[in-house]
C-alpha cells in the first residue's frame, strides 16, 4: 500500500519519502486501533522500501508526537478477567507492538522522527526506533512508566542503552522526569533542535538530502551502525509481563485513569 488513511495513523509515499502521520485525538495515545493500523504499515514496509529511500514519522496534533500507550484501554482490558488472561493479552500486545517497532528499526529506509510537544512513554519508544530525531523546541521526552509500577515495554530500555550512556538511561527511567529537546540533544539522542513548528520541514529537507546518496551504501552503513538488540528486547517483554502481575500496576493504572487532578501527566 503506497498510501493509507486510518483513524489513528496514515501514510503516503511521495518523491521517495514515506510520511507516516499520527493523528488520533487527543494526544496520539497508542492503543489497539493504532496497533492494528501500524501492523498494516509494517506489512507494507517491504513494498514501500522498493521505491522510497526515507521515512518520516510525525504527528499532526498540536499537543505533540504521542503520549504513549493508551493507559485507559490497557486498564479497561485488564479488568474483569483472570490475571492469567490479563498477562496473555498484555504479552500478545507486546509481541505485536515489538514486531512493528522492530520492522521500523530494521527497515532499509533511513528513518526520521519529526518531534514536537510530548514524546512520552510508547511515543518515545517509537521515536527511538528511528535513525534520526529532529525535535522542535517544544518537544519534551519522558519515560513515566515507573510510577505505574512498570518499565517501558516497547523496547525503550534496550534502544536507549544502544544510543546513550547508562547514567542518562538511569536518570530517565528511575526519576521518570521529562527532559526538553535541548537537554536530549546534549546527551546525544536528538540530532537537530529547531524552532517551534519547524521539525517536519527540517525532516523533509533532511530526507531530501539522504536521497542524494547511493541507496545500497546508506543501507549497508545503517545496518553496520545500528544493531537491533533482539535479545534484550525479548528480555524486556518477559520483565514487563512479570511486573504486570504485581498489585502496584493495577493501583497505578487505576490512579491515572480515575485521576481528576490537574497534573496526571506530571511524574
Amino acid at each position: 500500500m503506497q498510501s493509507f488513511r486510518g483513524q489513528a495513523l496514515s501514510w503516503e509515499l511521495k518523491d521517495g519519502v514515506v510520511e507516516l502521520a499520527l493523528h488520533r485525538e487527543p494526544n496520539n495515545e497508542l492503543g489497539s486501533m493504532a496497533l492494528a493500523e501500524a501492523e498494516k504499515f509494517a506489512d507494507s514496509l517491504d513494498q514501500l522500501s522498493r521505491t522510497a529511500h526515507a521515512l518520516i514519522i510525525y504527528s499532526t496534533l498540536p499537543s505533540g508526537f504521542s503520549a504513549g500507550a493508551d493507559l485507559r484501554e490497557l486498564y479497561q482490558r485488564s479488568q474483569n478477567v483472570q490475571p492469567v488472561e490479563t498477562i496473555r493479552i498484555v504479552r500478545d500486545q507486546l509481541e505485536r507492538t515489538h514486531r512493528v517497532l522492530n520492522a521500523i528499526d530494521a527497515s532499509p529506509l533511513i528513518t526520521i522522527a519529526a518531534l514536537h510537544g510530548i514524546v512520552f512513554g510508547g511515543g518515545f519508544e517509537l521515536a527511538l526506533t528511528c535513525d534520526l530525531m529532529i525535535a522542535d523546541k517544544t518537544a519534551r521526552f519522558c519515560f513515566p512508566e515507573l510510577r505505574l509500577g512498570l518499565i517501558p515495554g516497547w523496547g525503550g530500555i534496550p534502544r536507549l542503552k544502544r544510543d546513550l550512556g547508562n547514567a542518562v538511561v538511569r536518570d530517565l527511567l528511575l526519576t521518570g522526569r521529562s527532559l526538553n529537546a535541548i537537554k536530549v540533544q546534549q546527551v546525544g539522542l536528538v540530532s537537530q533542535v529547531v524552532a517551534e513548528g519547524e521539525s517536519l520541514r527540517v525532516a523533509r529537507a533532511t530526507a531530501a538530502q539522504l536521497g542524494k546518496f547511493d541507496r545500497h551504501t546508506a543501507v549497508t552503513a545503517k545496518k553496520f551502525i545500528k544493531p537491533i538488540p533482539y535479545d534484550e528486547l525479548r528480555q524486556e517483554i518477559d520483565l514487563f509481563c512479570e511486573l504486570f502481575t504485581h498489585p502496584a500496576v493495577d493501583a497505578g493504572l487505576r490512579k491515572f485513569v480515575e485521576s481528576t487532578a490537574a497534573q496526571p501527566y506530571l511524574p
Binding site: 494526544n27 510530548i118 519534551r140 522526569r177 521529562s178 527532559l179 526538553n180 537537554k183 501527566y265 506530571l266
Partner: protein
C-alpha cells in the same frame, strides 16, 4: 542573574503572552491552573518554555503540588 522579583515578573509575562491572558489578570499567588485554564500537558509546555527562557533544567517532580506563580518562581530561582 535576575533577582526573585524579576524572575517572578518574567514568569508572569511569559505565561500571559503564551496563553494569551491579560497580564493585568495575573498575580503572584494565583493558581495558574485556574487562572490560565491549563491542564498538565499545557503545564509541561509552560515548563519547557520557562526552561528555555531561563536556560535551566527544572525536573517536573519539583512542580508536584506547585500551583501558584510565586512558588514556581522560587523553584526557578533556586536553579539560576
Amino acid at each position: 542573574m535576575p533577582n526573585p522579583d524579576q524572575t517572578l515578573t518574567e514568569i508572569l509575562n511569559l505565561a500571559a503572552a503564551h496563553f494569551k491572558v491579560s497580564r493585568e489578570k495575573l498575580t503572584p499567588d494565583d493558581d495558574f491552573f485556574k487562572t490560565l485554564g491549563i491542564d498538565s500537558l499545557q503545564t509541561l509546555d509552560l515548563l519547557t518554555r520557562l526552561e528555555h527562557h531561563f536556560h535551566i533544567e527544572l525536573p517536573d517532580y519539583e512542580l508536584q503540588g506547585v500551583s501558584d506563580f510565586r512558588t514556581l518562581a522560587d523553584r526557578i530561582q533556586a536553579r539560576l
